[in-house]
């Protein structure tokens, strides 16, 4: 399928500042960026990077003058996630994991897996098969955590959400990650554009490392998985913010869109228990 995605980010700048933008889809074996456009108004110097932490592209923009500035990005993305039957998605023994996967077993700012060992073992430890264990995590979150805006903040972490049981996609993802890591399943944060998400916004999910693949799970079940366009993965929300700013400036506006350009969209089930979806 082919999607058109776009993002427009505006700041009010009070003194020379620097902005890191992370809104560009990440090219993978099954996600091809066909064309993309980026502009800043007024124009400022831009440097583009691939990150060594997580998988993301980002742009560093230096804003030399006070005033309002808007960054606009748009791309056409061809994507076809890989479908993998559940049987193939079992746990990978530690000693067989690639070195690059091991950091995703560690606790992180918002995913304190080190405090969830017993709880995770009690709730999910009896499930033998890796994929089924993560499915059970996804479904427990979906069944018990209320999706509600405005209650959680930028400081809410998995340790809060496991008890307070309310949050947004970011909180759902952090909790999924923390529970996986507590069970020795590497897990990471995923951000992307999301076709059919209402209201339009970036979306957050999580990926678990099973059977040698990074498999995508959405504990909020808000959108079809095959309508997601990957922007970035990282340890948690700290590594994948769509914008980080340094200096004296204030975030003003964000507009995000994802539309279908070509192809017949047959939604895959965010609740599937028989197959996994992967960008890698």
């Amino acid at each position: 399928m082919k999607f058109r995605v776009s993002a427009k980010v505006g700041f009010e700048v009070f003194s020379p500042s620097t902005v890191l933008l992370n809104v560009q889809p990440f090219p993978t074996g099954n996600q091809i960026i066909e064309e993309e456009f980026f502009s800043a108004s007024p124009m400022v110097p831009v440097k583009e990077f691939f990150s060594t932490a997580g998988e993301k592209r980002f742009s560093i923009l230096e804003v030399p003058e006070p005033g309002f500035i808007t960054f606009s990005y748009a791309a056409t993305v061809q994507n076809a996630m890989r479908i993998i039957p559940a049987e193939g998605l079992n746990d990978v023994p530690i000693a067989h994991m690639p070195v690059s996967v091991l950091p995703y077993l560690n606790p992180s700012r918002y995913c304190q897996s080190d405090r969830l060992y017993k709880l995770a073992a009690h709730k999910f430890g009896h499930i033998d098969h890796g994929f089924e264990r993560v499915i059970a995590i996804r479904d427990w979150i979906y069944d018990n955590v209320e999706y509600r805006s405005g209650y959680t903040s930028a400081q809410t972490s998995a340790f809060d959400t496991i008890t307070e049981q309310v949050g947004v996609c970011r909180d759902f993802a952090h909790l999924g990650i923390a529970l996986c890591r507590a069970l020795t399943i590497p897990a990471r944060y995923f951000t992307g554009y999301a076709y059919q998400l209402q209201p339009p916004d970036f979306h957050a999910c999580f990926e678990a490392y099973l059977g040698g693949h990074w498999v995508l799970f959405d504990a909020s079940k808000l959108v079809p998985l095959n309508g997601l366009i990957k922007i970035a993965t990282g340890t948690d929300a700290t590594e994948t913010a769509f914008a980080s700013s340094f200096g004296n400036l204030r975030f003003q506006t964000l507009e995000v869109s994802a539309t279908l350009l070509e192809g017949d969209f047959r939604a895959v089930d965010a609740s599937s228990t028989t197959q996994g979806y992967s960008f890698s």
Copy 2:
């Protein structure tokens, strides 16, 4: 100077388990590993890696049978940290930082810099020069945080220590890192062998990115900086544990030593305010 370092780590193993050991010094431009010995008793399969997260080497050991197992490591290390005058150690603008340095601006499990912005700005924001700002951080921690064992735990974080003002080298390092990051200075956790540390143990410090160098600071001022032999750097203690174990096993014993083999040891001052020391 030339040091002899050694570590012996023992576990009681109850079922097949995996251990990640991170006790080997890391080779840098000014730290040369001349020879090293590693053995496990009983013998088990070992794989050795360089990590992509942080800078470290580690070994993955698969322990197939229950029983007691001991890992022994020893090395001869030649090292001569680089000395850099304070003038050259100012802040690096974001847009000029290498991409690999940027992740060290993010908050992490034990270093919640996102919650320390105002406090850090109030206490240290008025100091113009980067090196002087980190010196002020180091000295504030040294002056206000009591070095005491047994009070903090594996869950203690910089957010706790800034208020509770008690801890060990790990807590001192986490607080230094969090305060630096809150002021937009990249900072990372450092672990190493430490000549003259009493009682003998691994030691933790922090590095701040100034003037294009990772400069070492020890807020505990427990040992001379030039008696440190670098094992690893990472976002915080989560990435640099000397041993991580998976399976059913129990940590039993740890013996660490660092002795001077050759050279005349002239201790550099852990309180220096005129020059920085760096492994890179």
Copy 3:
């Protein structure tokens, strides 16, 4: 002086519910309630109480039917806080404190004084005289904590505010209380109507027990102390909420007012360092 105070609280009720209202001024030696009016629309059974925890009056209202309900309260209050010169406001030795004062040395939900001992001793421990120590606490909070709405939540505590340094009157009061208790000065939460507060609302301050008196301090310095009409005191915000509801209902509206009826209002200085103000 004579004030007219009023409060109007509205709920949408979905099933039979119970509401505890705590909006009535508390009579003290220097605060006389001359007349008061209370009504519920529609009418519901009301029971009125004096509380044994803290000092407050409250009403229990049983709402038997779904629908909208509004509680209206108004009173005329004559008040003249006692003015006590600083010299008389020194620490009271533990063994001479009334038993009813001792609980206000304990940590509470939002005032974790047990985690602030070292910090409080470092910052304020060198000040000899009790009143001066609390003045220093009040002024440190005023100077370092930014008054800003919408950042903190019902879960923000003194342990958060001491580091995050932002909040509203409730957070300022909790921090003042926690710091006093950490220095063995009994302290409690104060809520009241506040003449000249913009926008009109209830206000929160704290009281410290000095020289045998409960002396009022406002670390936010938002209003003149002698324009305050006391509603309640308690361990912290948990004991003094203006409304607590049980059942299936939703808080809708709150209107608060405090106007001067008689007398010439000469504002006393919320920053006074020479005299204390007390309701007892």
Copy 4:
């Protein structure tokens, strides 16, 4: 039955200090203190009080000189807890609760019931009868929280224990209290001597207000309920510490004992689901 209880508490004192001791059994309708002995060595001035917060007796001791000091207490206590059939132990509507019971609905330092609403409702909200709901809470804690010394600290709270699932009697009690309050059941902390507790120590449980009685529950199920001799009840551990000290002194030793003097001890089942036990 008749018990002999004793406690011996020692401190090393470095400068004039004050100690609050709370080791004396509390007289209730079914707990009679027949005789008691108290001594301090060396002798110091002692004042004895009944507290207005919670139900406890305590002694304030002023230690004028540096040195070692030991407080010894012993008593003979006749007690016979009231047994109440489960049917009579249903929830009391808010509007029918005595005013003195209402504060035990509030969150407190170690029992953050305000953060447990959803979790408590999910796990226990479907159980209709009050006593059965608290039994379910008690049994969930017993089944899921590991009783282990040395893991938790004086700062561990119910919000930690619900997730970390490890602790001692204090932590078990705090969690029971927090879950009850989250379900609008008043609950309070109970401390006492405990016959048959090994090793001998004070014990902590919790009481829930059901059917007009304060009913005792022990989620640790460590001892028979009818071997408990009540010392104090309060909002949580902050109000019921066996010793609080002010000044420059260090806690040294504690010896506690509880022996049966007369009567045939027929242990009641700490797991009973058909009847409640109460001191009131």
